[in-house]
């Protein structure tokens, strides 16, 4: 049984995996409130898409380790938040074998996004560093 909360999905009553997911969605959401909104503001208001060529990314934006680290942190938060959120959506609409199969595809996609994003944030033109 779940405890009814007035706003979001009910918080699972017993401590365990589902409780962990419930908190992780909210904590990663808070992190993304700062990281994703800052990211969108920087790429659209501080800079402009027209100037964000590959050369600009590696000379300016990812010229130092700080922004690469922050962007990698954002990637981790996004992978947790977006895919746990999609897990909730899928579980709401699908049941049984279809749910299991769709969730497997979803988790595989999450892994691919994490790997591809990690390779991207650790790369210079020509391929990954080291």
């Amino acid at each position: 049984m779940a405890v009814l909360t007035p706003a979001g999905r009910a918080r699972p009553r017993s401590a365990g995996f589902e409780m962990g997911v419930w908190y992780l969605i909210r904590l990663s959401g808070l992190a993304l409130f700062v990281l994703a909104l800052a990211h969108f503001s920087i790429t659209h208001f501080v800079s402009d898409p027209a100037e964000q060529t590959s050369a600009w990314i590696f000379d300016e934006r990812w010229g130092g380790l700080l922004w690469r680290t922050l962007d990698w942190l954002m990637l981790q938060m996004v992978v947790f938040h977006a895919f746990l959120g999609m897990r909730t959506v899928v579980s709401d609409y699908l049941k049984g074998g279809w749910r299991t199969a769709t969730l497997m595809v979803l988790y595989l996609l999450a892994f691919l996004v994490f790997v591809l994003g990690t390779v991207a944030v650790m790369s210079v033109p020509g391929g990954p560093v080291a």
């Binding site: 706003a7 909104l37 959506v89 996609l109």
Partner: protein, 125 residues
Amino acid sequence: MLLRYRGGPGMLAWAFHRIAGVALWAFILLHVLDIWLAAANPGLYDEVLAVYASLPGRMGEALLGAALLYHALNGLRIIALDFWPRLTRYHLQLWYASWVVFFLVGIPGAYLIVAPALGLPGLKG
């Protein structure tokens, strides 16, 4: 579930949150792929970037920004109500306040994103 309207701001807030969330998830798939191209195939990345910087691309980004801003503001409202249930007494005020912030930030934001493609004055002159 999404189509069975039960009425009230709570239901609308939930439906918008879900639609925006799924849209943002889909964009993440595209965005990780295009940023991966920046190093893997710089020439192709620059071509994709030109689409982002075009008028249709910028209109898409304004919509993306709207989805992100709504999902962020409503998510904050959910977290506040989940962790401080006594705020529920003011849930309608919180709902209206999130829309005030949405339009106050969103309208100038959308203008600034689209302006360069229309030759209108923006942040870059």
